[in-house]
């Protein structure tokens, strides 16, 4: 198997990212995103097992009551994100099943923290009306005040927590 390719120069990757975002603004009149699709996936799954509950909870009903929550531009965009990641990883020789963790943490703990951290982010993204893709990147490029407040808060939160989870990574 050939060795994995190097990553792109970060500034070049950034310019490419910015151009993708700009094209989204120009062609679709909207930005990129991720967490909104996750919410819709969750509501869709819940609709299968508890459809009446989805109708009763207002936030869930807003996307799932009388319509298919998956029938949304963001869900398709996220599908594209997954495909793009897959193809890029494959072409660069980075497509392999592995669990990334630091040397001092067990697999079980890493999985638990991935789940817990993910859940926290899912909740946070609902509060902020977006995540780093939708708010920080897209809202930030449009100079929205809320997006910039959000972006700086993300960095603050990450730096503040880093020391406490250092055993997970180092």
């Amino acid at each position: 198997m050939r060795p994995a390719e190097k990553f792109w120069n970060p500034y070049v990757a950034g310019v490419a990212l910015g151009l993708v975002l700009l094209s989204s603004f120009l062609v679709m009149g909207r930005g990129l995103g991720a967490s909104g699709a996750s919410f819709r996936l969750g509501v869709a799954a819940l609709s299968v097992v508890a459809p009446s509950h989805v109708h009763d909870a207002p936030a869930l009903a807003a996307v799932g009551a009388d319509r298919n929550p998956l029938d949304d531009w963001l869900v398709f965009e996220v599908l594209g994100v997954a495909l793009g990641g897959l193809v890029s990883a494959f072409a660069a020789g980075r497509l392999k099943s592995e669990l990334i963790r630091g040397p001092r943490i067990s697999t079980g703990w890493r999985v638990a923290l991935a789940l817990g951290g993910g859940a926290l982010m899912g909740m946070a993204a609902r509060l902020a009306r977006g995540c780093t893709s939708g708010q920080a990147l897209s809202g930030g490029a449009l100079l929205s005040v809320g997006a910039w407040v959000f972006m700086f808060s993300v960095f603050a939160g990450g730096y503040a927590m880093a020391w406490f989870v250092r055993r997970e990574w180092r």
Binding site: E77, A92, G118, L142, F152, S153, V154, W169
Partner: protein
């Protein structure tokens, strides 16, 4: 050529969804190429040894920002129209707290929601579990939302942008943001060099300088767009309609965010007008010098009927220009006519509108309306529109 193409209209909806997949593909591809499909690269940012997140994110933001602001400067795109549609309303407190929590979740899980998808797609099991966590967490918050009550929409500053806050043209803010980003990059390189103990190889430095140079050049050249005559000097601009009920809510709860200009005959305006409205018949608009004012307040034009196109003296106004749908007659029907009390099965929204209307009616005519009957059940909590954003 019309930007944005708005391919999501009914006829082209399928095309829009396909375009969505393509744009997402490009997004995911670039993220993976940047190394963001791996937690070890991402969390390096928070331990100081790998500034890639900072570099990629801010280069991306600055690139897209310069692109859209410059296109707005030359008149191809309407920045505010795109932003109002693509960016969410600023809810200050949930966004601040949400940001902190997301940052915590980021360093705990090793990914952000978008990169976790890329990680999962490239086979990372920790990425997969993060994706599951994000799904569960967002639905959980959906369930909790009613319990948060008004806090979920607190700090509502509307569609507020940095250039509104400071009161300068967007291009100036874009220049400042570019300068800040370049300063951060230079600082980041210093930190990395200090931790690595050596300069980056030439193969890395050349593209970096090219990117920095390109962004700086674009920002400075973009200043030339300030010389382009303001949009509307040759084209006709349309007002954005606002309904009486929305105007009433704003006038009652956020009067500082609107400036109401009554364009009718002075006599009629003095007799009865929207609270806080200025009586400025159409021919007197020129002396307000609206082209020179700041953009933090939204203008609302009130005519006898609809005001569809922006009057010439108002065209240079840098903020949003609304017109009251139906003109003053609709306000008269809404605020100056006694509302019918809601029945026992009225929704919370109908109750709120009744309260608003009876309050306005009482203030104008001195007649107090009877209180609405008590609700027959606890009822669903009032759901304010959550605003559109890149993700919701």
């Amino acid at each position: 050529m019309m930007f944005p193409f708005e391919v999501l209209s009914a006829a082209g909806r399928e095309v829009g969804l396909v375009v969505g997949v393509l744009i997402g593909f490009a997004f995911g591809f670039v993220l993976e190429r940047a190394g963001f499909g791996r937690a070890d690269k991402l969390v390096g940012q928070f331990y100081g040894n790998d500034m890639t997140v900072l570099k990629v994110m801010f280069t991306g933001i600055v690139t897209a920002m310069l692109g859209i602001v410059i296109l707005d400067g030359v008149g191809i795109v309407d920045l505010r129209a795109v932003s109002d549609h693509a960016a969410s309303i600023t809810y200050l407190w949930p966004m601040l707290v949400g940001g902190l929590l997301l940052g915590v979740g980021f360093v705990v899980s090793g990914y952000c929601p978008g990169t976790s998808i890329v990680a999962m797609a490239s086979g990372k099991i920790d990425g997969l579990f993060t994706v599951v966590g994000v799904i569960v967490g967002s639905v959980a918050m959906g369930e909790l939302q009613p319990a948060l009550g008004g806090w979920f929409t607190s700090g509502d500053l509307g569609n507020l942008y940095l250039y509104d806050l400071v009161g300068v043209p967007p291009m100036i803010v874009a220049l400042a943001v570019t300068a800040m980003a370049l300063a951060m990059f230079a600082g980041g390189e210093r930190i990395e060099r200090w931790l690595r103990g050596a300069r980056a190889p030439a193969a890395e430095r050349r593209p970096r300088l090219a990117a920095w140079g390109g962004l700086a050049t674009a920002a400075v050249l973009g200043l030339a767009t300030l010389l382009v005559p303001a949009r509307g000097a040759t084209t006709v601009r349309r007002t954005v309609a606002i309904d009486a009920v929305d105007l009433a809510r704003r006038v009652v709860s956020r009067p500082w965010s609107v400036r109401v200009l009554d364009l009718r005959e002075k006599r009629k305006c003095v007799e009865a007008r929207v609270p806080g409205a200025e009586c400025t018949p159409a021919k007197e608009l020129g002396r307000l010098e609206l082209g020179q004012s700041g953009s933090t307040r939204d203008l609302v034009l009130v005519g006898d009927g609809d005001v569809r196109t922006i009057p010439a003296p108002v065209v240079g106004y840098p903020g949003r220009v609304h017109a009251l749908r139906g003109g003053f007659s609709s306000w008269r029907k809404f605020a100056l006519t006694a509302p019918a009390p809601p029945g026992p099965r009225a929704t919370a929204a109908e109750r709120e509108v009744f309260r608003l209307r009876s309050g306005l009616h009482a203030a104008f005519t001195g007649v107090r309306a009877p209180p609405p009957p008590p609700p027959s059940s606890s009822g669903a909590p009032r759901r304010r529109g959550g605003g559109q954003g890149g993700c919701s």
